[in-house]
């Protein structure tokens, strides 16, 4: 006779007086397959931890957002935010869908160029641009968004020295009613610095003012700030039309749209709390119709979204290493993916789902990573079924920033795979090994030998 399926004995103390008007916390349903591919089989073939991306989901996200904006404004161009995820395969996928590249360093600029993106399809943002980087971007006709006056004068000097003409825009920062104000990037709107910078550009015949840019923040949880931002850029654009007869090629509203991830300290789940993408699009596009232009002269609306397009297309598969009881009786589970792979777990309550079907008995537990560091906590408190050593979990919505902000620390960085639309598993990045890490190091001759 077959034996019964074993489950760890569990006793749960009933808490009184903490009734929740929204009902009990939903147990996290198992996620056994991603795009019809078995999670456990993938983890066994490619090792654990393992980052998994879904091509289908990425394309769906892009097409959906593109449709939402294009049905509200005639000319829309997305530029993929490289820093959000600059895996070649991911960038290439967005470029296939029609997105330009939005880069914030020469490293990212070179990545885009190497991948085959033309300079004229690159938006070059950020406060750190070297003389060589600026010169190359000017020669290749990239759209340079100037961050500060020192950079503006660098650009003027370069165009004079090498007899060049540059396509430029400025980044504008402003009060949109949210905290924190991102006033460290670009020229301020309220104190007149932005207008001053625009006048300086207009007065120089080597500079061709093509656009205005702003990026008001990240994970913006309401639509109003976008509306204010668009209105303020429209005021500047109308000033350029009325006073200087300059019609811009584009207005760039940046990114900052939130994903499905729930922030720490947020009680309700993000899905219940956040406005819809359609509402954001309404807020961004409606002020643009106040431009003093005929519709055929309308500038292109540039958008630099990252997180909202990729976060829910990325998964981190991780194996249970151990179960422990903490001093106060709470349960803890140690998994093989730590904060070095998932920087975002410092501010997000990433949804965690078991990768195998389990019973309905759940326990609340703290989820620790494998690092011998006290800060290595993936979730402070998460409701999970009783997990055995060797079973797998899937950490959800990890497509944004994880594989760019991850670091080699204590453990090595793992494999990354993508499930294609055809259901094939393609490896996007190989896991690191000791040789790869040691390659860049130089051991001085006198330190090569020792005897202990």
């Amino acid at each position: 006779m077959d034996k019964k399926i074993y489950e760890r004995p569990v006793i749960i103390k009933q808490q009184m007086g903490f009734m929740n008007k929204f009902g009990s916390a939903p147990a996290n349903q198992p996620l056994t397959h991603i795009d019809n591919v078995s999670v456990v089989e993938m983890a066994e073939k490619y090792g654990s931890p393992l980052f998994v991306f879904s091509e289908k989901k990425i394309r769906q996200n892009y097409r959906n957002l593109n449709r939402i904006f294009k049905t509200r404004y005639p000319k829309v161009q997305f530029a993929w935010s490289y820093k959000t995820n600059y895996l070649n395969a991911v960038c290439s996928l967005f470029h296939q869908e029609g997105a330009w590249a939005e880069v914030v360093s020469e490293f990212e600029y070179e990545r885009a160029r190497k991948l085959g993106v033309k300079g004229e399809n690159i938006i070059f943002n950020g406060p750190d641009k070297t003389i060589e980087g600026i010169k190359k971007a000017i020669e290749e006709k990239a759209k340079i968004h100037i961050d500060h006056f020192d950079e503006l004068y660098d650009i003027i000097n370069i165009t004079e020295k090498y007899n060049l003409k540059a396509d430029v825009g400025i980044r504008v920062n402003m009060d949109t009613g949210i905290y924190p104000k991102w006033d460290r990037f670009g020229f301020n709107y309220e104190n007149g610095e932005a207008v001053q910078a625009l006048k300086r550009i207009i007065s120089n015949e080597r500079l061709n003012l093509v656009g205005l840019h702003t990026h008001i923040g990240t994970y913006i949880m309401s639509t109003e700030p976008y509306k204010i931002a668009a209105q303020k850029l429209v005021v500047l654009a109308n000033m350029l039309i009325d006073q200087y007869d300059i019609k811009l090629d584009y207005i760039d509203l940046g990114g900052g749209l939130p994903s499905h991830n729930t922030l720490k300290g947020q009680y309700l789940e993000a899905e219940q709390l956040l406005p819809t993408l359609e509402q954001y699009a309404d807020a961004i596009t409606s002020p643009l119709y106040d431009l003093n232009l005929s519709p055929s002269e309308f500038p292109t609306l540039f958008l630099e979204n990252g997180r909202v397009l990729i976060d829910d297309a990325g998964f981190l598969v991780s194996k249970v290493l151990a179960n422990k009881r903490l001093s106060d009786g709470r349960r803890s589970t140690v998994i093989d993916a730590g904060v070095n792979l998932l920087f975002t777990s410092f501010w997000f309550k990433h949804k965690v789902r078991p990768a195998q079907v389990s019973s309905t008995y759940t326990e609340s537990a703290t989820l620790y990573g494998p690092l011998c560091m006290n800060i290595d906590i993936i979730r402070d408190d998460v409701v999970l079924p009783t997990l055995k050593k060797g079973e797998y979990l899937v950490i959800m919505y990890v497509g944004a920033y994880s594989v760019t902000q991850w670091m080699q620390f204590i453990t090595l960085r793992p494999n990354i795979v993508m499930i294609t639309e055809e259901g094939k598993i393609e490896q996007l990045r190989k896991s690191e090994n000791l040789d790869y890490i040691m390659e860049q190091e130089i051991l001085p001759e006198k330190l090569k030998e020792f005897s202990i």
Partner: protein
Amino acid sequence: MSNYKVFDNLAVSESGFLFSPSTGESFTLNPIANQILHLLKQGETINQIKEKILSEYDIDESSLEKDLDDFINQLINYKIVEEK
């Protein structure tokens, strides 16, 4: 291995709901925890319980031992059992 005695005044239902009149606290048990507690109540030793679970369920001895130790520790902390 020590053996344990379940406090007499506890009310345990068939389905795994447990009430302790002395502390006013109530608990829920999953089926296997419920089975173990009922066996303890009947006065079975830890070794007897271990053998029973091993013969009935698909689990290896060392994993069961870890889980059982942890479970018994919780029962002691919740003042449901005491060492005999």
